[in-house]
């Protein structure tokens, strides 16, 4: 006969079975939504950080869902306002709406900031709080073909920076030799056409006034600004850009520079390496391609000829509605260890916001990274590409005018200045 005690024990087991296994202290799933599903090196790094965190917390599962950017942003736009969404998600610095609308949690007291460069942290600092952990960083660079430069009889100055007059002369020489002076195309991106103009404005104005210009506090009719527009107009009129500038896509412009037909220079973020340092049959540059990096030209009467733009790309934020904020922050810390930073540079071939200490570069691209680091010596950084900093009508004007129509030769200086002022200037 079944005793009452047996019945009670059986009932207890049944109840346990019904509710699943006995819960561990950390029986938690941390959800992460990330962009860049198509970049194996980044996928491997973020998955490794997840495994490292799981190893420290038995019972914890870190589940990363991989998206492309548009899909991720659409999913976040739906999930976050309804108080759902992942614990951690990929963000970029132009997505300030997540901050202004209280959708992400401040990380000042949660993340170990000793491992992050101050300038990179500053990108995510608004109203005295830090809102996301920057992982990827890049600078605006002017790549060039060393052989073509030599062929034109030009020599790079010791400081790797031509004057604005010399650069204009170089552009004219290149065009006369039937060499495209600047490979760039705006067929599918809102920024490549503006590199030369934006960097020239930054040098001419210095970081403070350049920031004011982008934030609508300085008129584009300022004589210094107009002077820079006039110089760029001279470049455009000298045939600096490819004739298919308006339809050339980003990937095609890489190909244009280092494969066919070839170009003298190529202004690009240092994420250049992501497309160039892959096998030739996948669109990369040849192993023996004579790649060099020069500084953007020095402007006459410039406030800061050593200035350059640094930008933060891939970053991660913690959902303000997350129930596991501390664990989420621990995942961010796992992404930002010096070892992970070193591995980032060696596998992603890109700068990072994570402090890595002194690294001795090795491997096939050691010379490239050494030169890239040389170009950073003494640099004063302005943080943020214009397309990331600008919003609303000003961003639209930037994309249409500074990125496309002006370098595309469709506008005069006066028209461009007027259009930019209409979109941006709040004075």
């Amino acid at each position: 006969m079944i005793s009452c005690r047996n019945i009670v024990v059986a009932a207890a087991f049944a109840a346990l079975a019904a509710t699943g296994s006995v819960a561990k202290a950390e029986d938690v799933t941390l959800t992460v939504w990330s962009h860049e599903a198509d970049e194996p090196a980044k996928v491997a790094l973020r998955e490794q950080a997840a495994r490292n965190l799981e190893a420290k917390h038995p019972g914890l599962t870190v589940k990363i869902t991989w998206y492309e950017k548009d899909g991720l942003n659409s999913a976040l736009r739906t999930a976050l306002p309804s108080g759902q969404g992942p614990d951690v998600f990929y963000v970029e610095p132009d997505q300030v709406e997540y901050i202004t609308n209280g959708l992400i949690a401040p990380l000042d007291d949660l993340v170990n900031w000793n491992n992050i460069y101050d300038w990179a942290r500053a990108v995510w600092t608004h109203d005295g709080k830090t809102w996301a952990l920057p992982e990827e960083a890049y600078t605006d660079e002017l790549y060039y073909n060393k052989d073509m430069l030599a062929k034109l009889g030009a020599k790079l100055p010791d400081n790797a920076q031509f004057s604005q007059a010399d650069f204009l002369e170089l552009v004219k020489k290149a065009r006369a030799a039937d060499i495209t002076p600047i490979a760039a195309g705006v067929g599918d991106r809102p920024y490549p056409g503006a590199y030369v103009l934006a960097e020239a404005l930054l040098r001419k104005l210095g970081t403070d006034d350049y920031g004011k210009l982008l934030h609508g506090q300085l008129s584009f009719e300022d004589p210094r600004v107009v002077g820079v527009f006039k110089w760029v107009k001279e470049l455009v009129d000298a045939g600096a850009y490819p004739k298919n500038f308006m339809t050339l896509k980003l990937g095609e412009s890489h190909h244009y520079f280092y494969q066919k037909p070839g170009a003298l220079t190529f202004p690009m973020g240092s994420f250049y390496s992501g497309r160039a340092f892959v096998p030739v049959d996948q669109g990369g540059q040849a192993a023996d391609f004579p790649l060099g990096i020069m500084q953007f030209p020095a402007m006459d009467g410039a406030a800061c000829n050593e200035c350059k733009t640094v930008a933060v790309g891939a970053s991660f934020a913690v959902n303000a509605a997350s129930k596991h904020k501390e664990l989420a922050a621990e995942y961010l810390n796992e992404l930002a260890t010096p070892e992970m930073g070193k591995r980032w540079i060696e596998t992603v071939y890109l700068q990072t916001a994570v402090k890595t200490g002194d690294i001795q570069f090795s491997g096939p691209y050691a010379a490239y990274f050494t030169e890239l680091m040389d170009r950073q010596k003494g640099a004063k950084y302005f943080t943020g590409m214009p397309v990331d900093v600008l919003t609303g009508a000003c961003k639209d004007a930037f994309v249409q005018v500074m990125n496309k129509a002006f370098p595309g030769g469709l506008m005069s200086v006066d028209e461009a200045v007027k259009a930019m002022n209409e979109g941006c200037y709040k004075g």
Binding site: E97, P190, N244, T247, K395, Q400, A405
Partner: protein, 314 residues
């Protein structure tokens, strides 16, 4: 069908006709309720919500600020880009619709008249319809490329190098270049519809016209076209509505540039909603509401102009 066929059927288990009616109502509900629910959830609610949003300045948590008709006032009286987009969309719609329908009819007549290789031509002309806008956009962007595009190559080859253009990069040609691409994609669809309508024309009427020594042009104008009129009107209205909402192809080929030369109302709404680094969906909702109203008004106007309301079937 006779009246007796409409009588309730007595079932095997002996239920009366009343019971059969009740079952019928339940069955009816079982079919109707899901459809109505889907309509309410995915059509009616979004439409009403968009109209409501258009009177708000919105944050992401639904915390909107009621601004009344302020968004509409801004759009109608101060937004130059909106009016540029309206102008482009109007050109695209009017020229595109006429060319679409007339071109489709011409191709159909060509096949109907038994042109050589008509089977092959039908396949060739219809194939672009099967391609996605993304594929079509990429192919034509290459064709239009200044340096290595086929169109400029041909111009140079036949000695008309002076006419080579940055077709998508020049504000004077960009909209027309996109329009040609759109026509290339959709002519085949209109051709097939017209061809089906031509094939369904009563042979005796056409035969009678031939017996009366009616020439092909007179037969086309006075016999065939009037009989095809309902089909052509339906195609016109459908084409009109489609072009008023044009987004995909423009977005892929030009993104609305250069200098807003190809900006359509739909691309502008998208930019305002998702590319301006703001969560405020109030303003783009107002544009969407305004534009939807305009489309409905134009469709009603077209129906009235054509005086064929009862024959339209879209």
């Amino acid at each position: 069908m006779t009246a007796s066929e409409l009588q309730p059927v007595r079932t095997d288990d002996g239920l009366a006709s009343q019971g059969a009616r009740q079952t019928s109502r339940a069955t009816l509900l079982a079919f109707v309720v899901p459809a109505v629910a889907i309509f309410v959830l995915f059509t009616l609610y979004p439409v009403l919500r968009t109209i409501w949003n258009s009177t708000q300045t919105l944050g992401p948590m639904g915390n909107g600020t009621f601004v009344g008709l302020q968004n509409f006032e801004e759009i109608l009286f101060r937004d130059k880009t909106f009016w540029k987009a309206v102008s482009n969309t109007a050109i695209f719609t009017i020229v595109g619709t006429i060319a679409d329908v007339a071109g489709g009819l011409l191709l159909a007549l060509c096949l109907y008249a038994g042109a050589p290789m008509s089977r092959t031509l039908r396949v060739i002309w219809f194939t672009p319809v099967l391609m996605s806008y993304v594929v079509v956009g990429i192919i034509w962007t290459w064709l239009y490329d200044y340096d290595w595009g086929l169109i400029n190559h041909i111009l140079r080859w036949i000695g008309l190098g002076a006419l080579e253009q940055s077709w998508l990069g020049d504000p004077n040609t960009a909209l027309w270049a996109v329009l040609v691409t759109h026509l290339w994609k959709w002519l085949g669809f209109n051709m097939i519809i017209c061809l089906a309508a031509l094939s369904a024309l009563p042979k005796e009427v056409l035969g009678a016209a031939e017996l009366d020594a009616c020439g092909w042009w007179a037969k086309l104008v006075y016999v065939i076209t009037p009989m095809l009129w309902p089909t052509l009107l339906n195609l016109t209205v459908l084409s009109f509505i489609g072009k008023m909402m044009m987004f995909d192809l423009v977005w892929i080929m030009t993104g609305g540039g250069p200098l807003w030369a190809t900006e359509t109302v739909s691309t502008y709404v998208y930019k305002r909603a998702f590319n301006w680094n703001t969560f405020n969906l109030g303003y783009p909702s107002a544009i969407a509401v305004l534009w939807s109203g305009m489309i409905i008004a134009f469709v009603l106007l077209m129906m009235r102009l054509f005086r064929q309301r009862e024959r339209l079937e879209f």
